[in-house]
Amino acid sequence: MLDRAARIAFTFVVLNCSAVAGLFAALSRRKVWD
């Protein structure tokens, strides 16, 4: 139960950090794909 909650919380943090990185990638026109 604790491990499952930890995994979900960790994924939530990863997704939100990725959203910030995605914004910077888009604004700097950095290639994120191919």
């Binding site: 491990d3 995994r7 960790f10 994924t11 943090v13 939100n16 990725s18 950095r30 994120v32 794909w33």
Partner: protein
């Protein structure tokens, strides 16, 4: 400071709780209204009308770069689909492959057109594939995933409704398949069993990797299920916001060539259909199978790409931001843009609750709750790291470098867990 706290908290609450609740009510009310009218067609009626009219012509386009290892199994999977062979065209576009992708595809016995173009990116590959398409319905697929045997039939069935411009299928991650099988979903178990015969063509190393279930996979499974639930509700109300890149179809008449640097073809093309006044529906009967990300890094790369793609959409199609032009404006802002803004709201909640903690016990409790949550996330990170060390394969693997392949094992999958 209180205003910042409450506005940020309300915003995060709306994105993750309020908006789903709104969709649930809206979809239920909408479905009740549609019952009395000719409105939304239910899947059974679509399938029935589809069977009466006969199968429409379908062109399946698989864009691939350096997929020689997978393309054979993928094409066998497509050729084995339950669909009239004379109503189906398969096109493989090899985009600047430096391996034997084109040769491997051409070697498969069946009606397969292989096109080789210089490395120009996926959007250009899709444009090239569509230019060679002979049929009215275009189906887009990737080299890595596999379709359920009836996926094509189910994907095409909703097009009997002339309002429908595009259809997104359902991508099932391996963790979900396990979960559904353990819950006794017999139909899915049968489909997965047949699909596994295709997977058996994979190399033993790949199978061994597929068996790994890192912690991030179960976390992603939860978010992916939420995402698909949202898509289902949005589809019932009007349109989903884009499609699942691994399995989607659209009318050729609605296709417009994609700009070469398009990141999310599976959102841009369907949203253009929405802007043209058609619906994009989600069919959970059309299933494709894939595995979840192998690591947090892989998932993060995938998300960076997806979210950068969502931002790119705004300058490729600024009409999406105009309420009376975009028929799903509220959904677009709540679902797509809301997710982009949540991290900043979370930072604002943390900062404001720290500032307010000394003023009222409520803010101190909220601050403590956030600390517990982030500690829990830290524990999740530790579990992830531990599993990465423990599950590292003994034999050195040599995956295709990310810059050389669209679909190497650790790389982003478009349209998945779209935020």
């Amino acid at each position: 400071m209180r205003a910042i706290f409450w506005l940020s908290a309300l915003f995060v609450g709306y994105v993750y709780v309020g908006y789903p609740a709104l969709l649930a009510v809206w979809a239920r009310v909408g479905a009740r209204r549609a019952k009395g009218s000719a409105g939304r067609m239910d899947p059974d009626r679509s399938a029935e009308r589809f069977a009466r009219r006969g199968a429409p012509g379908v062109t399946i386009i698989v864009a691939a770069r350096n997929e020689a290892r997978r393309i054979g199994a993928r094409l066998h999977n497509l050729l084995a689909l339950d669909y009239p062979a004379d109503r189906r065209q398969i096109i493989v576009v090899s985009d600047g492959s430096t391996d034997d992708t084109a040769t491997a595809a051409a070697a498969i016995d069946g009606p397969i057109d292989v096109i080789s173009i210089p490395a120009s990116g996926k959007a250009a590959a899709l444009n090239a594939g569509v230019a060679h398409a002979e049929h009215e319905i275009l189906v887009f697929a990737d080299a890595r995933q596999t379709f359920a045997p009836d996926a094509l039939r189910e994907l095409v069935a909703p097009f009997v409704d002339p309002e429908v411009g595009a259809v997104s299928g359902e991508l099932l991650l391996d963790s979900e398949v396990d979960r559904r099988q353990s819950r006794g979903d017999r139909r899915l178990a049968r489909v997965e069993s047949r699909e596994s015969t295709v997977r058996s063509r994979q190399s033993s190393v790949e199978r061994r990797i597929s068996g790994i279930r890192p912690p991030i996979a179960s976390g992603i499974g939860v978010y992916w299920r939420l995402e698909k639930w949202l898509r289902r509700q949005e589809s019932a109300i009007a349109s989903t916001l884009g499609a699942t890149g691994a399995i989607y179809a659209m009318r050729r008449s609605l296709w417009r060539p994609l700009p070469a640097d398009t990141i999310l073809d599976d959102v841009l093309a369907p949203m253009r259909a929405v802007l043209a006044g058609r619906r994009v529906v989600f069919s959970d009967r059309a299933k494709a199978f894939d595995h979840a990300a192998r690591s947090a890094q892989a998932e993060s790369r995938r998300k960076v790409r997806t979210l950068a793609g969502n931002i790119q959409l705004l300058w490729l199609e600024p009409r999406l931001l105009v309420p009376f032009v975009n028929p799903v404006w509220l959904q677009f802002c709540s679902h797509k843009l809301g997710r982009l803004a949540v991290p900043y709201a979370l930072v604002a909640i943390m900062a404001s609750s720290m500032a307010l903690a000394g003023q009222h016990p409520f803010y101190a409790i909220v601050l403590a709750g956030q600390c517990v949550f982030y500690l829990l996330a830290g524990y999740g990170a530790w579990l992830e790291q531990r599993s990465a060390v423990r599950l590292r394969p003994a034999a050195p693997l040599r995956p295709v470098p990310a810059e050389r392949s669209w679909r190497a094992a650790e790389r982003p999958r478009k349209g998945v867990v779209n935020a």
